[in-house]
């Protein structure tokens, strides 16, 4: 996760890889979560 999105997305956990899009106000972020 980028540093900026880490301010808002504190924790993500899925058993599988997932794509997540997050919008906060006008800002939009995309991240791919991969289980460790």
């Amino acid at each position: 996760m980028s540093e900026e999105i880490k301010k808002y997305v504190k924790h993500v956990s899925f058993p599988q890889e997932v794509k997540i899009k997050v919008k906060i106000g006008d800002k939009e972020y995309e991240l791919t979560y991969k289980p460790s």
């Binding site: 924790h11 993500v12 058993p15 599988q16 899009k21 106000g25």
Partner: protein, 142 residues
């Protein structure tokens, strides 16, 4: 309801449970959870869209919410663009939410959390679901 009807219902219910157990064993279907923890700035809505992995379909069973303050966050939820929960205020009565039957989510789900307070708040959402192989879902879907 007559005794005969009760017995027939019971048998059908038993058969469904047996068939479900067999399918779960064959396809290694288990209860799973996903977790998403968000910081919601004051007077702001945070939106998250999560794509369901292509090889599976989610049968959502319910949610657990953990909030740092009650009654200041509102939750809206969609499955594949279909409204599931609208503007539910996260107070004590909904912190453990269960569907009466599994809600199917095929491609993506969306979460909107609105903070109506004047200070930032955090929420942890835990989704309870079973991941069904998409191949199996395609065979049985209506």
């Amino acid at each position: 309801m007559s005794l005969l009807t009760s017995l027939v219902d019971l048998k059908i219910k038993d058969l469904v449970e047996i068939y479900q157990a067999l399918l779960e064993r064959k396809y290694d279907i288990k209860d799973s959870i996903w977790e998403l923890s968000l910081l919601i700035p004051a007077n702001t809505t945070v939106y998250a869209k999560i794509d369901v992995p292509k090889e599976t379909v989610y049968f959502e069973r319910g949610y657990e919410f953990d909030v740092d303050k009650l009654s200041v966050l509102r939750f809206t939820h969609y499955h594949d663009g279909r409204l599931i929960m609208k503007d539910i205020t996260l107070d004590e009565s909904v912190l453990s939410w269960r569907y009466t039957r599994p809600e199917i989510c095929v491609n993506y789900f969306e979460v909107f959390v609105t903070n109506i307070d004047t200070v930032d708040h955090s929420v942890k959402v835990v989704g309870l679901y079973k991941a069904i192989p998409r191949e199996l879902y395609e065979k049985v879907k209506i």
